[in-house]
């Protein structure tokens, strides 16, 4: 179960930190790390999007701009997974772990720009 310690009531937080609670205590990443992960997520999304466009070009002979909802979800998920791989490559896994930041939070934060950008694209294409 994911629980974010800063959003819990003070009593529960105190108990959790004292080890008296049955909650798993994860930490909210510092703003510095949030910015870092969002930025990386954006770059990764651009890379994934470009790859998909190139694959589309190779298969159909034109650059696709719009993708189906399942493909969009796949792109967003892939961005999150790629950030986990990238983080391991950079040797940052242990520090993030020691900061109490779970891998799920890392993947989610990296996927946020991808999701936002995909929503923006679909809105722009629907209401040009």
């Amino acid at each position: 179960m994911f629980r974010c310690v800063r959003y819990l009531p003070m009593r529960v937080r105190r108990e959790a930190h004292a080890g008296n609670s049955n909650l798993d205590v994860y930490m909210v990443p510092d703003w510095l790390l949030i910015r870092l992960l969002l930025g990386r997520g954006l770059i990764l999304w651009l890379g994934v999007r470009l790859s998909f466009a190139l694959i589309g070009f190779a298969l159909y002979g034109h650059l696709p701009t719009a993708f189906g909802p399942m493909t969009v979800l796949f792109i967003v998920g892939l961005t999150g997974v790629l950030e986990l791989v990238d983080q391991r490559r950079r040797g940052e896994v242990d520090l993030f772990g020691n900061l109490g930041i779970s891998r799920a939070v890392v993947a989610t934060l990296a996927a946020v720009p991808a999701l936002a950008a995909e929503i923006a694209i679909s809105v722009a294409l629907r209401y040009p």
Binding site: V5, A16, H17, A18, G19, N22, D24, V25, Y26, M27, P29, D30, L32, L33, R90, G91, E92, D94, L95, F96, G97, N98, L99, G100, I101, S102, R103, V105
Partner: protein
């Protein structure tokens, strides 16, 4: 008070069985030295204790709570700090920024004297990428000091350190324990480790033996023959 307890832990990598039934206890205010030959599973046991890898079976209790599927992040949120054998800090980010990050995240007040002992002031404005192996080790240990952990698991913290630096880091580990932290260290630097340890655990043949104090460990015939050799 026992902060961390691993009981009958087993782990295999493919067909290679590393641990069959290993036990480890970390007491608040004490330093436990986990010693053993290369490939006997010391680092694996420590990584399991930290939630970095998952045991195949066995019981893990941290702060009086049984952990079914412990993750590093969840244990770290409750006061565990894992110092891996590889570098801990992000190579391209300033050391000072990373230490501040740890302090800010957990709202801790690190012991300034310990940080001074690690000569961290000289390293704050540098990136780990530009540091020597010994300086990196000191910076990693400084991150642990900034966390003020309840339990510190340090995998070979004295590796490749000059004798003076090793002594300095060993002193810091001792001071952390004196402040109430449960410290577990591994390594092959027998002399400084035995000096700093309160208890010695011998990891061999997939299991562990609690040998008691360093003095009784040094008198243990099988330990001397099986690990210390001529030391």
């Amino acid at each position: 008070m026992i902060v961390l307890e691993l009981d009958s832990v087993g782990k295999s990598f493919g067909r290679r069985r590393i641990l069959t039934s290993a036990t480890l206890r970390a007491e608040a205010g004490g330093v436990t030295a986990l010693l053993g030959r290369n490939g006997t599973g010391k680092s694996t046991l420590l990584a399991i204790a930290a939630g970095v890898i998952r045991a195949d079976y066995g019981r893990i209790i941290f702060r009086d709570r049984m952990r079914e599927r412990p993750t590093h992040a969840a244990l770290a949120g409750e006061g565990l700090f894992f110092l891996p054998m590889r570098e801990l800090l992000i190579p391209t980010m300033l050391v000072g920024a990373q230490l501040d990050l740890v302090t800010r995240t957990f709202a801790t007040t690190p012991d300034g004297a310990l940080l001074d002992q690690l000569h961290i002031q000289d390293l704050r404005d540098r990136r780990p990428l530009t540091l020597s192996g010994g300086e990196r080790r000191r910076a990693d240990l400084a991150a642990a000091v900034c966390r003020t952990p309840v339990c510190l698991l340090a995998d070979e913290p004295l590796r490749d350190l000059a004798p003076l630096d090793a002594e300095c880091c060993a002193d810091v580990l001792r001071s952390l324990a004196r402040a109430g932290c449960a410290v577990v260290v591994t390594g092959h630097e027998v002399e400084p480790l035995l000096q700093v340890a309160d208890r010695v655990v011998w990891c061999t043949d997939g299991t562990t033996y609690d040998l008691g104090t360093p003095a009784s460990a040094a008198d243990h015939l099988a330990f001397r023959r099986g690990y210390l050799a001529g030391a």
